[in-house]
Symmetry: C2
DNA sequence: GGCCAACAATTGCGATCACAATGCAAGGCC
DNA sequence: GGCCTTGCATTGTGATCGCAATTGTTGGCC
């Protein structure tokens, strides 16, 4: 990392702190970083092969998005612990924002989006049959946000992104307790049909049902001993 | 700022980047920073008398909260511009989250909170009669969040905080166009009554009405030429 | 006189260093 | 042997420096 790092155009070459952000973000979404454990700037920096500085920047963003928590006394940072109260609030927020995004996306859904979603959904199913947790979570995330991005509502979209970031660690708990089979029943097909028909309310209902079922499973998993 | 910083406990002495964050946050909430104008780290640092470093940290947080925007090409930062689409999304998000927080706070409202709210509301009225815009906005913010904090829902609370940060510049536009008289009709008394009675649904309705009237005014102001 | 190229100033990003505070563990004292 | 204290390693924070890229300006050329 003392490498001089040949300079490159800005657009196609994201800054280091953005790469670090994405790395930690992916680790959180897929639940690779367990809740409660403490992480340090320097350890993260060493692990990613960069200086502590861009890690500081990335961590600031993640703390602002509540994807990481910082102990006010120690100033030491960790992944927020999974409490029932947190999950309940995150569920409620998701259940409002994400169906709304799906409803807004419905009238804008074109053939290209449908085709993309079908591809992603096939990937989701593949990951499920293989029991590949990381792959499932990544594909599921892509499926939902491919829809949401079509809503052309950047404020709500970023809120949804923040919520997924916070819910990621919970999802890993679900898989840890009920196994990959526990999430087989999704409403992706239903959502796809509604989008294809341009049915906003149908898309809203489908996503709401999909979320609701997933969050219910998380709830019982957390109550079982989160 | 080469001052050595006399040793002090951490809790009662916030870090510099937190102070910077609060300073910029206040400037945004009260609308002292106009939308569209560009700011630089070094200029902010010089203005606040600190090094660019804590300003970077504060700006990262604000960008993550979408209170500041960063041009992907220049990487130069500015206050997000006021568009009708943005306002509409912010309105919808606020209209869901804030009444919910008020409803959750209602059963927890005690005499001390009521008294505090009465004091703040008097301050709001004073600011209104004086036509002191900054003072009104600060007091109004304190009124709402004194309620919301009682909901004991930290996830939703932080979401509400982020929304106020984004809506701040819009509020200044309202005052600029309709004058301080335009916001005289608030529903604070109604909300206070509902909280005193522990009436969750009443508090929800009062806050929803308060928000909705304010957002309507902003909408016409923005459409008039934001 | 107007346009373009080269120069200078500014800006964001990343690295490194310094420092105070905390956490941790080994060692001494009762 | 158990508890406290002392010492060292680690951590977050802030400052300063260097670099590359962009911006604003000035000078020269046609």
């Amino acid at each position: 990392m003392s490498e001089p790092r040949s300079r490159r155009a800005l657009a196609d070459n994201p800054a280091v702190h953005d790469q670090v952000y994405e790395a930690i973000r992916q680790a959180l979404i897929t639940g690779r970083i367990a809740p409660g454990v403490g992480v340090s700037l320097r350890s993260l920096a060493a692990e990613l092969g960069v200086s502590p500085m861009p890690v500081r920047d990335a961590v600031r963003r993640l703390v602002a998005e509540r994807a990481l928590a910082i102990n006010p006394a120690n100033k030491r940072l960790s992944v927020p612990s999974l409490t029932a109260a947190r999950l309940e609030q995150l569920s409620q927020a998701r259940l409002w924002i994400e169906p709304e995004l799906a409803a807004r996306a419905a009238p804008r859904a074109d053939a290209a989006l449908i085709k993309l979603l079908q591809t992603i959904d096939a990937e989701v199913d593949t990951a499920l049959t293989l029991g590949d947790v990381d792959r499932y979570m990544t594909a599921n995330h892509r499926f939902h946000f491919a829809i949401y991005e079509r809503a052309e509502a950047d404020v709500l979209l970023s809120m949804a992104g923040g919520l997924w970031l916070q819910i990621g660690p919970f999802m890993r708990v679900v898989f840890g307790r009920v196994g990959a089979d526990g999430l087989v029943a999704d409403r992706h097909a239903e959502a796809l049909g509604a989008l294809k028909a341009g049915d906003a309310e149908g898309a809203r209902r489908a996503i709401a049902a999909d979320l609701s079922e997933g969050m219910d499973k998380m709830r019982v998993a957390v109550e079982a001993g989160g």
